[in-house]
Amino acid sequence: MRDVAIVAFAQTRHTGTDTGLSEHELIHPVISEVKERTGLRRFGFTCSGSCDYLAGAPFSFVSALDALAAWPPISESHVEMDGAWALYEAWVRLQHGDLDSALVYGFGKSSLGDLRTIMTLQLDPYYLAPLGLDQLSYAALQAAAVGAERQELDEIVRRSRADGRGNPYAFDLPDPSDEEFAVQPLRRTDVPPITDGAAAIVLAAGDLAGRLHANPAWIRGIAHRTEPHYLGMRDLARSASAADAGRAAGVGKGPVEVAELHAQFPHEEIILRQALDLGGETVINPSGGPLAANPVMAAGLIRIGEAARRIHDGTAGRTVAHAASGPCLQQNLVTVLEA
């Protein structure tokens, strides 16, 4: 394996409503920021993550390339998933050995339509999508399967939002007090905020990483696993795929100081802590996590960026980042970072 590190991370100051910026206007500032931080103007490989259904337009990532400088031609790819999977593809590309740098970004504007029903379109078209099964409903089914105490769930929301208030990129959201159900047992305050935003990361291999950052965040393990799509074929109370990905990435090979989890609902944090075997010594989501800002298709990549930031600034020596995709944590990507 080649040593590959995260050497730069930038994210937008996310918004809760559409500011009218087009996608390439949204990502241009974060691309410029990581270029400035690294001094790189060109990258060996570029990969992005986004979702056409958020914009309601096919191949919407193509026009977003206008933010990059795509002339002379660049080596580029795209995943119709969170930018975290774009980072995985870029990491694999750097393992080929012929390139030393990669630019990764993810972006999404979930304010343009009704995210709750747009996410229905990711379900299978035979058994689930025709029922109109929506995102909050399937998340609520998983919350019911977990059956956690309300007090524990409220504490996760309260802690996430308090941390979010300390994060200049996240929102200032009130503590849970709303007793209203979104879809029972999920309360309205358990639902992540609608968020528009983007994030970018630069990967560098070998010696280049040390030249671009004094404290590179080395990727010591990265793996992803998936489970059956159909919810009735899974044990919703547990995440076997997150546990497998965590083992394959080597989460348990050392102490975890900080874990950034792509938990959009509080019960997901409970499932993930158990799957990744995170104990009380691990600080969870000090950025506030998706409950404090949830730019869809960038939120997973931001977890990796936030976990790297703790190593860049010297406050942690070993961190874990998690990203999820699909209904009810169907797919899970786990990254282990070390100083």
Binding site: P130, L131, L141, A144, G232
Partner: protein
Amino acid sequence: MPSDPLVAQHVLEFPGGYTRTTGPVIGRFLTELRARRIVGVRTVEGRVLVPPLEYDPATGEPVTGEYVEVGPAGTITTFAWVAEPLDAHPLDTPFAWALIRLDGADTDLLHAVAADNPKALAAGTRVWPVWRDRPTGHITDLSHFAPEVTKIVSSVRAEYRLQAGGALRVFLEGVERGVLLGSRCEQCEKVYVPLRLACPECGNTLPDTLELPDTGTITTFAINNLPDPRAPQVPFVSAYILLDGADIPMIALIGDVPAHEVRQGMRVKAVWVPESERTASMANIRWFAPTGEPDVELA
């Protein structure tokens, strides 16, 4: 001048719908649905997948060609309650999404369950399918599921003609005159009201008829929260009233006092309807109302 802000509506839609081929496995399931049967497919390892998939999600092996009819009933394993249905949902009144383990299946079907409220459902609740009128071979041929029949409401009504003879007739004739009649047992030395012909304690014939006053003391009472056609309002109080000079309390309504102020030992007096409206009926007494006298110490 452009409007500010510049906003446009944008719709993503496939007019007329998107045509998809089903393949043999999902196609078989949907074809069986059209005939109002639910089938699963058997895996190489012998498990029954419902709804059927082409591959065993546990092993990746292709499934066998054996289809097994399951259900139609099943058991809820997990559910979530939707208080405000969306347009695309199968039901337009509050309902549950549930994972349902159909009888004979090894995996759970996800579908909607109709119920009056979330308390009517639990893990373990048995449910049965409700079919759409004209099945076409679509997952929505199953309109939804509904809880198994565990109770029914049957109406009971019979009419009777009652006649007051004997002691009751004498008592009610007294009530018509505005008098409460009781009887005294010489052997037991007890006064019973309403009037009766025999002593319930010793069985003696009761010859002594006496008029009792319409004042008394509450010995015990109940606050009723279910409406009753005879009661003035809800909640209302019914009480045992020991008429002065009687040994056995009589049951009656209490009125002209808030329910929470009624107490044991309270002195009360009958409130009679006006003389012109009186009949041989207990309706002559609207209720008993507090007299304002000091409470009586009950033994």
